[in-house]
C-alpha cells in the first residue's frame, strides 16, 4: 500500500478488433469502399493485424500494408499469427493469441463450402489449444467486479449486477438477471453466444460486435434471451 509507486503494471483484458487479411491484393480497394460508407468510424481504432489462411507477408510487404492502414486513419497496434521479425519491420509487436491462431487454421466462413474438403485435416490435430473447461461462478457478480473465463465458457448461477463485467473466450451463460456487461468470444470466436434468464444488460458483445442497452429490442427486456452473431450482426433472440 505504498503511496510512492510511479506506475503499476496491470494485466487487463481489452477487446481489440482483429483485421484478418484474406487477400492482400484487394485489401485497400475494399477497405476504401468500406471507409467511404462510414467516414471517420475507424479513425484511431486500435487493430490487431492477422494474415488469413495461406497469406504470407514479406518484411517490406507487411510494413507497406501497415503504413497503408495508418494513412487511412486506422491504428495497427500489433500483429498476430506471423513471425516477430515481420511484425517488427512495421514497428509492431506480436500478440500471442491462441484463439486467433486457431481461427487462422479454420476455413473462413466466406469460402466455407470449397474449403471444407481441402482442409479436411484441420480438426482435432491442428488445435494446439484445446478449450479449457468452463468456469462456474455461484456468487452474485457485483458492480465493479470483472470475471474472465480464459479459453472456455463462463457459467454464472447468480445475478450479474449493473457495473459488473463477465467475459469468456467461449459462451457466457447467466442463470439469473444480466444487468451489467457480458462479452462472449472476446478472443474472436464468432460462434460464441450469450445466454441469460433476464436481459437487463448495459452492454452485450460477441467477438467485438456490441450492442448497448438502448439498442436491445424492447420486447425482450427482462426476458430470457440469447445473443450471437449472424452475418456479422449481433442478433438478440428470445429463449
Amino acid at each position: 500500500m505504498s503511496a510512492t509507486e510511479a506506475f503499476t503494471l496491470k494485466g487487463r483484458m481489452a477487446t481489440l478488433s482483429v483485421l484478418e487479411i484474406i487477400d492482400p491484393g484487394r485489401l485497400f480497394d475494399q477497405l476504401d469502399q468500406r471507409l467511404a460508407q462510414v467516414p471517420g468510424f475507424f479513425d484511431g481504432m486500435p487493430l490487431v493485424v492477422m494474415p488469413g489462411p495461406g497469406v504470407d507477408f514479406s518484411h517490406e510487404g507487411f510494413a507497406a500494408m501497415v503504413d497503408g492502414l495508418r494513412e487511412r486513419g486506422l491504428l495497427p497496434v500489433a500483429g498476430s499469427g506471423l513471425p516477430a521479425a515481420v511484425a517488427a519491420a512495421a514497428g509492431l509487436g506480436v500478440m500471442r493469441n491462441p484463439a486467433g491462431h486457431e481461427r487462422a487454421e479454420k476455413p473462413s466462413p466466406a469460402n466455407n463450402g470449397a474449403a471444407t474438403a481441402a482442409t479436411g485435416q484441420t480438426p482435432a490435430g491442428a488445435r494446439d489449444n484445446p478449450r479449457s473447461p468452463a468456469r462456474r461462478v455461484d456468487q452474485p457478480v457485483r458492480s465493479g467486479q470483472q470475471i474472465y473465463a480464459r479459453g472456455g465458457d463462463l457459467v454464472v448461477t447468480a445475478p450479474v449486477s449493473a457495473g459488473a463485467e463477465v467475459m469468456a473466450d467461449g459462451h457466457v451463460h447467466i442463470y439469473g438477471p444480466l444487468r451489467g456487461r457480458a462479452l462472449a468470444g472476446v478472443q474472436g470466436d464468432r460462434d460464441a453466444r450469450i445466454f441469460c434468464q433476464s436481459l437487463e444488460a448495459e452492454l452485450v458483445a460477441v467477438a467485438g460486435q456490441y450492442r448497448l442497452s438502448e439498442q436491445l429490442p424492447v420486447p425482450l427486456r427482462g426476458k430470457p434471451a440469447m445473443m450471437g452473431l449472424q452475418q456479422d450482426e449481433l442478433q438478440v433472440e428470445a429463449l
Binding site: 500500500m1 456468487q139 457478480v141 465493479g144 447468480a158 449486477s161 449493473a162 444487468r179
Partner: protein
C-alpha cells in the same frame, strides 16, 4: 470470542454512523459488552452522534501509534452499561491507519468485548477497506435510490473478495441489508425504489427497514443514539433490527404508508 461487525455502504450520508450508534447501543442494552470504533479518521462524527465529543482525549490513531493504550482512549457511555466508543482522530487522515495497527487494536478490543462495531467511512479506499477487512458480519446500509444501491453492490463485491475471511477461504462475511430513509409514500409514487426492488438487485437478506424520520435528525443533534428514543418510529425500527440480528424473529414494519387523515378520508 468477539464478533466484528462492519457497518458500511460505499456511498456517504446514507446513515452508517447513525446505524452504528444504534446497533452498538442496542447490543449493549441487550447485555452484550460492545465497543463501536470510528474508522472515519479525519471526519470524526461518531462521537457527536453518541454525545461524547467533549470527552475525547485520546483516539484510535493515538492507540495505533502507541501514544496511548486502549483503556485511555475508550470512552464509556453514560447511558448504557457495557457500551464503549473508540473515537477517530480529527487531525489525521486515513493513511494513519495501518494494517498491523488496526489488527492489534481489534485484537485488544476482542479480549473483553462481545461485539466490535466498525463504523466505516464512505468510499472503498483504505479506511473503508481496513474497516471491513477483519469483519465477521457486515451491515450494508442503503438508501432507496439507484446510486446508493449500486455503491452497496460494489461494497458487497469487496466483502466477498477483499476481506480476511475471503482471503483465508473461511466462511464468507455474513451480509445483512439495512434500508434507511425509507418513505413508503414516495415509493408508492415511484420516486423511490421499493424494498423488494432493492432486495432483488442486491440479493442479500434484509435485516431491517428504517423509515425516513425527523427523530433521526433530532437524536443526532442531541447526541443520543436514536434507538434509545423508544417512542419514535426510527428508534423502534432499530430496536427490531437489533433483535433480528440477535436471532429473534420480528415482522418487518414501516413498509407501508401511514395514512394521514386526508388519506383515510379519500382512500377509505
Amino acid at each position: 470470542m468477539a464478533r466484528i461487525v462492519v457497518v458500511t455502504s460505499g456511498k456517504g450520508g446514507v446513515g452508517k454512523t447513525t446505524t452504528s450508534a444504534a446497533l452498538a447501543a442496542g447490543l449493549a442494552k441487550a447485555g452484550y459488552k460492545t465497543v463501536v470504533v470510528d474508522f472515519d479518521v479525519g471526519l470524526r462524527n461518531l462521537d457527536l452522534i453518541m454525545g461524547c465529543e467533549r470527552r475525547v482525549v485520546y483516539d484510535f490513531v493515538n492507540v495505533i501509534n502507541g501514544e496511548a493504550n486502549l483503556n485511555q482512549a475508550l470512552i464509556r457511555d453514560k447511558r448504557v452499561e457495557g457500551l464503549e466508543i473508540l473515537p477517530a482522530s480529527q487531525t489525521r487522515d486515513k493513511d494513519a491507519l495501518t494494517f498491523e495497527g488496526v489488527q492489534s487494536v481489534l485484537e485488544g478490543l476482542a479480549e473483553n468485548h462481545d461485539y466490535i462495531i466498525c463504523d466505516s467511512p464512505a468510499g472503498i479506499e483504505r479506511g473503508a477497506h481496513l474497516a471491513m477487512y477483519f469483519a465477521d458480519d457486515a451491515i450494508v446500509v442503503t438508501n432507496p435510490e439507484v446510486s446508493s444501491v449500486r455503491d452497496s453492490d460494489r461494497v458487497l463485491g469487496l466483502l466477498a473478495s477483499k476481506t480476511r475471511r475471503a482471503e483465508q477461504g473461511d466462511a464468507p462475511v455474513a451480509e445483512h441489508l439495512v434500508v434507511t430513509r425509507y418513505a413508503p409514500s414516495r415509493v408508492g409514487k415511484g420516486e423511490m425504489l421499493s424494498v423488494e426492488d432493492i432486495c432483488e438487485i442486491l440479493s442479500i437478506e434484509l435485516l431491517g427497514v428504517v423509515p425516513e424520520s425527523n427523530a433521526v435528525l433530532n437524536a443526532s443533534n442531541a447526541g443520543v443514539p436514536v434507538i434509545l428514543e423508544d417512542g419514535t418510529d426510527a428508534g423502534q425500527a432499530y430496536d427490531d433490527l437489533v433483535a433480528r440480528y440477535l436471532g429473534e424473529p420480528r415482522p418487518q414494519r414501516f413498509l407501508d404508508e401511514k395514512k394521514g387523515l386526508l388519506g383515510r378520508i379519500f382512500k377509505g
